[in-house]
């Protein structure tokens, strides 16, 4: 179900501007990888390039390869739409569709699938996805209510349910807790640890404690100056990045000396 990601010599450009340069990184299946680094270091750009969401911005291109279990997602015959169905994404601010009910939000992605091979009924998928996002108990009696009627943390879990309903192989999370209160953040972090059994997860976070709590591996990004491309400074098991980093910049960042 979950797959490994290999990023090879990846450069990401917005037009002429080189945003991320020379990234080489492997993210193992069923693990949680955290991207940390100061603002503007390209970690979100890199995350979005993993499911080709950065291409939504005109002029955004990549050079290099991103392999999903060995298959280049930038290959010549690869449809970005299909890449996004395999690699799901959760955004910084909860974004359930405001005109849809909770139920409709969960199955929004399923309605796009042309492939009717899945046997379960929609009701079953809604229940299993909401259970998977630890939201079922809270919303099972009001599935017909608008998704926007939920609290921020519940909305974010609804978005996670929507993303896992289409059974992706990888989940990308772009600062999923930055708009949430501490209790909701805790709920999402618990959920991430559970989801790892079924998906490969990459999370961008500004919160280093969060990276420490949820991730197996961490990659640290930095820029040498404003306007310069973001580069990956160091990667390794999270415990090592936080306790004995190899690079001085990493040590400065994780110990709170800058960023």
């Amino acid at each position: 179900m979950s797959k490994q990601i290999d990023i090879r010599d990846l450069n990401v450009y917005y037009g002429d501007f080189l945003a991320v340069e020379g990234v080489n990184l492997t993210i193992k299946a069923n693990s949680v990888m955290a991207f940390i680094g100061p603002s503007g270091c390209g970690k979100s750009t890199l995350l979005r390039s993993i499911n080709r969401m950065h291409e939504v911005i005109p002029g955004a291109i990549t050079k290099g390869q991103i392999l999903l279990d060995g298959e280049d997602i930038y290959g010549p015959n690869v449809d970005p739409v299909l890449v996004r169905r395999t690699i799901g994404m959760v955004f910084q601010r909860p974004n359930p569709f405001p005109t849809m009910s909770i139920y409709e939000n969960v199955i929004a992605g399923l309605k796009l699938e042309k492939d009717k091979s899945r046997k379960e009924s929609m009701d079953d998928i809604v229940e299993s996805s909401l259970r998977g996002a630890n939201l079922w108990a809270e919303v099972k009696d009001r599935l017909k209510r608008p998704g926007a009627s939920l609290s921020g943390g519940q909305q974010q879990r609804l978005c996670i349910a929507r993303a896992i309903a289409v059974q992706p192989q990888v989940l990308l999370m772009d600062e999923p807790c930055s708009a949430l209160d501490p209790i909701s953040t805790l709920a999402i972090e618990d959920l991430i640890r559970e989801l790892k059994d079924r998906y490969t997860i990459i999370i961008v976070t500004h919160n280093m404690q969060q990276a420490g709590r949820v991730s197996d591996n961490t990659a640290f990004f930095n820029i040498s100056a404003v306007g310069q491309p973001g580069i990956m400074i160091e990667t390794g098991p999270t415990s090592e990045i936080f306790t004995k980093p190899q690079n001085q910049q990493t040590e400065d960042y994780v110990s709170g000396r800058f960023g």
Binding site: L82, G88, F91, R93, N95, F97, T99, S101, C159
Partner: protein, 329 residues
């Protein structure tokens, strides 16, 4: 020490209106007065128009010897006066329906193209042109329709009648090919097209980026994204755009007066001469009308006033349903 930790015991109650407190700022009070005044002014204006129309049309209604709803002639200055709104109602509604059927889907299409498909430079040029088209005075559309567009519509009307003439709507028994309901509907369609597309484009551009990205990240194609994130969010605005277009079509005077033949009859054959509209009829007949005639024309204006009122209220009712699910929250 105790005095420092003690919380303030007397808390001022919140008074956002600033009416109860003695320290009302002059700026607040002035603004309150201005905004309330403007709101009341609109109501007074509407009421004033309604009262004027009703007052001025009373003589026509008392003198009329026919049923104004069913009578199909317009002879208010004859003795006895005879007139009815049936023909005007029919012509106004049918021309507007034709205009809506064509302009609304095409207008939405143009707006979608500008908002989501066209490259940035093309989109800005096209958007500018559409806005420019919306600003063209209607007399220009009328003249253009009459002298330039009609020669192209006539063969199309002949084709319609030849191949689809078995549908009564497209038959043309008099075999006269000139100004017609269809012609007026087409000119109206072109006139309201920029209104529909300019407003729906603005509405589409307001769809929050996060909803667009949510749909794309689920693996939606661009069209699926539009159906999933854009249409539901924009629905009230799209209805407003169509209704504003309809409002312009219902009330359009001079362009319709130029391309609609003045034959006063209900004519289901939309390619044949005949039909009339409220606004065009007022413009064409006002100059030669006598006292009762003018009063009758004002009465027809009153009817048009209520039609547009009903159209707008219906639109608002449609928009306000399912309020919980509106994009506003």
């Amino acid at each position: 020490m105790a005095t420092i930790t003690q919380p303030p015991t007397q808390e001022q109650p919140l008074d956002p209106d600033g009416i109860a407190g003695s320290s009302v700022r002059r700026g607040d009070r002035t603004f309150l007065g201005l905004s309330t005044g403007s709101g009341i002014f609109v109501l007074v204006l509407m009421a004033g128009i309604a009262v004027f129309l009703i007052w001025q049309s009373i003589p026509a209604f008392t003198e009329n010897t026919a049923n104004p709803l069913t009578e199909q002639s317009w002879l208010p200055d004859a003795d006895p006066p005879v007139f009815g709104f049936a023909v005007l109602f029919f012509g106004t509604i049918v021309t507007s329906i034709i205009a809506m059927l064509l302009a609304v889907p095409i207008g939405y299409g143009i707006a979608l193209f500008i908002a989501f498909y066209a490259p940035a430079r093309v989109a800005s040029i096209l958007g500018f042109l559409v806005d420019l088209l919306a600003a063209v005075p209607s007399i220009i559309f009328g003249l253009w329709g009459l002298y330039y567009f009609m020669p192209y519509v006539v063969p199309a009307a002949e084709w319609l009648s030849q191949y689809l003439g078995w549908i009564p709507l497209f038959a043309n028994d008099p075999e006269i090919w000139t100004k017609s309901i269809l012609m007026a509907g087409l000119v109206l369609a072109i006139m309201i097209l920029p209104t529909v597309s300019a407003i729906s484009r603005e509405v589409f551009l307001q769809v929050p980026r996060m909803h667009v990205e949510a749909a794309l990240a689920l693996g939606a194609t661009r069209w699926e994204m539009i159906r999933m994130a854009v249409f539901p969010f924009s629905r009230p605005g799209m209805i407003s755009a169509a209704m504003l277009g309809l409002g312009r079509a219902l009330g359009e005077t001079i362009a319709v007066a130029l391309v609609l033949s003045a034959v006063f009859e209900i004519n289901w054959q939309i390619t044949a001469p005949g039909g009339n509209s409220f606004a065009a009829n007022i413009a064409l007949k006002w100059g030669e009308a006598g006292d009762v005639g003018r009063s009758a024309l004002i009465a027809s204006g009153l009817v048009l006033f209520f039609i547009t009122l009903i159209v707008n209220m219906t639109a608002r009712w449609v928009i306000s349903r399912r309020k919980d699910f509106s994009g506003a929250n």
